[in-house]
Amino acid sequence: MTLKLLRYLNPGEIGIIRKVTAEGELGRRIRDMGLVPGTPVQVQGRAPLNDPVAIRVRSFTLSLRNSEADFIHVEVENGS
């Protein structure tokens, strides 16, 4: 069980959101999309220039910039 930033989640790896540190509009947008603690997410892929990242969350696909993913801490099963 290790905690890491969503940005560093490997493609295909599943992590559980533990903490969202964004505030204001970004924080609200992140929550509107259902990225709240306890939610499992999986990295689907990355854009050609490595940014943004596409994740699967609550049965839909969401893309967000790396800088936005940095506000989201996820927990992964086996420390990698």
């Binding site: 050609p48 220039l49 943004p52 967000l64």
Partner: protein, 745 residues
Amino acid sequence: MTKSDADLLIALAGNPNCGKSTLFNAITGSHQHVGNYPGITVEKKEGSYNLNGTRLRLVDLPGTYSLTAYSPEELVARDFLVEERPRVVINIVDASNLERNLYLTMQILELGIPVVVALNMMDVAANRGIEINLQALAQRLGTLVVPTIARRENGIPELLEATVEAAGDQRTWVPLDISYGPDIDPVLQRMQELITAAGFLTEHLPARWTALKYLEADDQVIQRGQQADKELSRDLLELAAEVTDHIRKTLDSYPEAIIADHRYGFISALLREGVLVEMNRLDRLYLSDQVDRVLTHRLLGPLIMLIVLYGMYQFTFTYSEYPVSWLEAAFSHLAGWLGRLLPEGPLKSLAISGIVDGVGGVVGFVPLILFMFLAIAFLEDTGYLARAAYMLDRVFRIFGLHGNSFMAYIVSGGIAGGCAVPGVMATRTLRSSRERLATLLTTPFMNCGAKLPVFAMLIAAFFSEHRALMMFFLTLFSWSAALLLARLLRSTILRGPSTPFLLELPPYRLPTLKGLMIHTWERTWQYIRKAGSIILAISILLWALMSYPALPEARKQFFQDQRTALLTTVPQPMQASITGQAPLPEAAAPEFHGARARWRQIDREEALARLQRSAAGRLGLALEPVSRWCGFDWRVNVALIGGFAAKEIIISTLGTAYSLGNVSADESLSLSERLARDPRLNPLAALSLMVFIMLYTPCFVTLICIVKEAGSWRWAAFATVFNTLLALLVTAAIHQGGIRLGLGG
């Protein structure tokens, strides 16, 4: 049933991409856009439906993920619900994506408005192995739940019946109470009591909702509260600050986050115990994801995107070519008919040169624009546009723009040959206002289809050795100019952090034909209306500027005398061929061809004399002290003034202004050749002219669109003044620099 009862106000609310617009179209059959891109419905759309004598007035609210006050869409949706108090909200919920969709439902229920849930995309959900217990869901939500498949128009009668039933049920709003946990609940209770006791904003808003908004630090509600009751508002803010402080210290969080967590907690509790059964969750790859593996692949993705864009251009230009040429033929036919019908004089000139040519020039573009819109609608409705934004965001962000700015640039002529009008309208897919303004102010720099012929002609005249290279350079130049200016705008008048990206990549879907048609037609019609309302006036104004003051009688007589003199040298039967009323046979003697050329030369000389004397000509002359820096004389200035109405006018005006060439028999010289031979022009001047045309003020129709899309005349004024000044500066730098380097020839 009384008359007022027969008229029910119904609002449609739901997330972007939940099929809301499709459902709205299916019910009302109204002209309404169906998009697959989040947030495309910015305007409020209305339609009506008659159910057994009950008239339902349906308002389609913008698609939103929640009811906060951050985006204009959300404010529109929220204000409508609060101010207009619809009898029922039909909340469209994507059954294949239930949890996130219910987040909005919770917020509507917290307002207390009677809700009917349309559980849409039941087919997609079934395909994905999602089972929903409708009865249990309805019971737990406390609303009616109707399964629908909007694409196939399934479940619509049932939905409408349920809506009328819900409208009959209750007149008072009963807000849903959600527990927000031990930290929030007590203070929420306390605030609710204060609000209820004071009757604070309660005529519109439920007390608990207002309290929640104070805790969520919602600017709009707090502002309203401050106006209503300063003291109470301050007390509430103090309470909110207290609990915020407490939560920050004990939980390292803040009320808004706690509230959202509890809302989602409430939703997952609601869906437990067999209400929602999902076979697979994260790890199953749907077809859409598999497609994405290829279409957004690191290497293949950009390559495929280039092919798609190329295909879009190919499609647009191939298929619009015929209708465009038909329209051109129709307008020239009309001009010819008017020419025979009307007597010589100002009326004829107005009708042909002013109205038919001016309006025809703009209307002639309609097929092109229609096909362009169709192509965009297709890319948008399939979900591909969101992928393009996803792939390109990193590049555009460098310049303070958004991944989706890309489409506006491409449509405006990013690959050469689009139109800034649909380009400006395409910025609607950008949700954030700063990025959107920066995009729509810079997108007119692209080389649209009306600038291209001017470039083509100047390149042919002065750079015939390097045509492709020159065109490539111009494309590169326009992109650099647009991106750099965007950067400049974003670090000055449009300064501010970039708006969160967070873009949903909706599943790929095959668009419905109905959706595509409605979508395309609606936008095209907007263009026609916008252009039509103004282009007639502008055409007439421009014609007047270029025709008046008219030549004095003596000058007119001078040209007339020349014509008469010329005709006397020609035998009677050939005269009609000389004046152009009849064709001149190829086999005719050379002296007749010479006379024909001379006749045309007189026409041109008179046109030039008229132009020079006209208001536009004088204006052009008056501008010479400034335009000299760029190497333009009054002729070019007049053409550029004409280009303000529509860029394609530049060519025809240059044609008139440069009509004086060699008076020899080579009357067939094209404008390009005449320009090349003109001693006043040289490659440097031509380059300066092309750069100026690329950068200076957007055409009038584009400006009208900017007004509409930016919501203010000021941005259009800014685009005109700023772009023209920029063009002057850049062009003057190029021209003066060129002369210093000895390129002035």
